[in-house]
């Protein structure tokens, strides 16, 4: 079997026993990439030569020694492009490594390539990429989810073993759900954001997309920790996750928030999630009905706060210091206008305008400040729920992958696709999505497990036990 179909944990064992060499993994991955990338378009950039060179001198004694990993195209890696799938960053080459990237390098991993995304991570379908759309490996007429759609399609399509993504409102978990892989959004403050191109700084978090929960834990163990360059990172000492895998959920209290089971939701999704809850109960967990009463406000709160923060963060793209610069500008103001108007795509402009509006004089109290207050209420909902349970169990997405082009003209409908993921970002908690079933038309369905803040060990244990008791993670998309 091609090594491209293996998990990181298995490959690490085979590398350490000298059964295989890192170059063998890359060879098999590039064979797969040559066969599938033309259809999927998961990558924006591939490191063919430098990856093979790195494989020859890989240090297998390191935790990810010899393991190739892909990066979402919004993470700076020294000397590489970092386009954020935007025309405005054409020609930019990163002058430094993001902390997450330097941790991967220090752990011995090999950079395989950069993955496609919605422009500046704004979107839920990867259709907002200036570099072309990405297709779902399970059905190439459908979206892979977004914004880390390239990372999810690469992992699910067996053209990457694992990839990093970023999650501001569900951008790791929703594509993981729609592509049938594992996506982990760590607790806010768990992983350094230094070198991640900022979208909404109070919500952004970097995390892994992998085939299995064990691989997710391996990557989180490398990425987690305080970084003096990101003062929002927590000071707790480094942890190794999922070192004990007993597969038991005995005694676990699993909360089912009633607001996440909506009348009229996709019936196959609901049935798969209810079956997953039943599995937890049959295996010794207690199911608890809980309420997160402010859930219906989350979309509005999110799209006010995220766009407000984005309008400030994206002010830096002005054609002065890096990236695209418009030609023939009359003066500096004209330079800003032309560069930004030519460089940003429609969704980015729409969000910058919305964010500027909700912060503007006369409207900031009614929109921005009110949203910050309701965000506090959303956080209280989670804190209260976690006095009654250890994990929350919900769908990741209200429906499986939708057809390409279906929502590009209806941004509000696109925003509603994030209804089950954004509250977690607003509250700051960690959450995982893992496969829990397939529709009749063979599209993956994702289960979301949300933990208390810094409760990743509980999330990973619960997810690992569920995963290993089922064969969903072993199913392959059609080739």
């Amino acid at each position: 079997m091609s090594l491209a179909y293996e998990t990181i944990a298995t490959l690490r064992r085979r590398l350490l026993s000298k059964e295989i060499h890192p170059r063998d993994i890359l060879k098999d991955l590039f064979t797969q990439i040559d066969a599938r990338e033309k259809t999927l378009h998961a990558y924006t950039y591939l490191h063919r030569e430098s990856a093979l060179a790195a494989a020859e001198k890989a240090d297998l004694s390191l935790p990810l020694g010899g393991i190739p990993i892909a990066l979402k195209d919004n993470l700076n890696a020294l000397g590489d492009p970092c386009t954020c799938a935007s025309k405005i960053l054409e020609g930019y080459k990163a002058p430094y490594d993001a902390t997450a990237v330097s941790l991967l390098r220090q752990a011995g991993s090999i950079l395989l390539g950069r993955t496609n995304m919605d422009e500046f991570a704004m979107g839920s379908s990867t259709e907002n990429s200036a570099l072309g759309l990405t297709r779902n490996p399970w059905d190439p007429t459908r979206i892979p989810g977004g914004s880390s759609g390239g990372s999810a399609a690469a992992v699910a399509g067996r053209i990457a073993l694992a990839a990093l993504g970023s999650d501001t409102g569900g951008s790791i978990r929703q594509p993981a759900a729609l592509c049938g892989c594992v996506g982990l959004k760590p607790t806010y403050g768990r992983v350094s954001r230094y070198g991640l191109v900022a979208f909404a700084s109070s919500l952004d978090q970097i995390g892994p997309l992998t085939r299995t929960v064990e691989d997710s834990a391996l990557l989180l163990s490398v990425l987690a920790g305080h970084d003096p360059r990101d003062n929002t990172t927590d000071l707790r000492p480094p942890e190794k996750f999922l070192t004990q895998k007993n597969g038991s959920v005995q005694g676990l209290r699993v909360g089912l928030p009633k607001e996440y089971f909506l009348p009229g939701m996709d019936s196959e999704t609901e049935s798969a999630i209810r079956s997953a809850a039943d599995w937890f109960k049959k295996n010794g967990a207690t199911l608890v009905d809980v309420s997160l009463p402010h859930t219906p406000t989350a979309i509005a709160v999110y799209y006010i706060l995220a766009t407000a923060e984005a309008s400030a963060n994206l002010a830096r793209f002005d054609g002065v210091r890096y990236g695209r610069r418009a030609t023939d500008a009359r003066d500096v103001l004209d330079l800003y206008h032309r560069t930004r108007s030519e460089g940003f795509g429609a969704e980015v402009k729409r969000r910058i305008i919305l964010g500027t509006f909700v912060l503007s004089q006369g409207y900031a109290d009614a929109y921005y400040r009110q949203a910050q207050k309701v965000r506090a209420l959303l956080r209280q909902d989670f804190e209260k729920a976690f006095t009654q349970c250890d994990l929350l169990l919900t769908p990741t997405s209200p429906e499986p992958a939708f057809p390409l082009g279906e929502r590009t003209q209806d941004p509000l409908k696109m925003y509603l696709a994030d209804v089950f993921t954004i509250s977690t970002n607003l509250a700051g908690n960690g959450a995982i999505s893992l496969p829990c079933g397939f529709t009749k038309s063979n599209l993956p369905i994702g289960l979301q497990l949300i933990g208390p803040r810094f409760g990743e060990e509980t999330i990973l244990r619960g997810a690992h036990a569920f995963e290993q008791a089922h064969d969903f993670f072993q199913r392959l998309p059609p080739s």
Partner: protein
């Protein structure tokens, strides 16, 4: 709070964007629909609720100089430069 009419061109100008007539028409319709959805927030009682503020700084680093980007690296992406400075169009008449 009823959904306000946004003067899209004014707001775009604050954000240093110039919209085409097509964009202006399209964004106006889409943003008024989105703001209509956001009206739900005005019905939530938040009188005594404090706004969420950024997390308390867990630790302030020591104020000790450490190595940072070299001038060459910092200027490596500048669209136009001379004498270790970034060139921009004239800002004063």
């Amino acid at each position: 709070m009823s959904a306000p009419q946004i003067n899209i061109s004014d707001v775009a100008s604050l954000a240093r964007l110039t919209l085409t007539p097509d964009e202006t028409a399209k964004f106006s319709a889409q943003l008024s629909q989105i703001l209509g959805h956001m009206e739900t927030l005005s019905q939530i009682a938040t009188g005594a609720v404090p706004e969420v503020t950024p997390p308390a700084q867990p630790a302030l680093r020591q104020d000790i100089p450490t190595p940072s980007l070299s001038i060459e690296a910092a200027l490596s992406n500048a669209p136009a430069q001379a004498n270790d400075l970034i060139l921009v169009p004239r800002i004063l008449e």
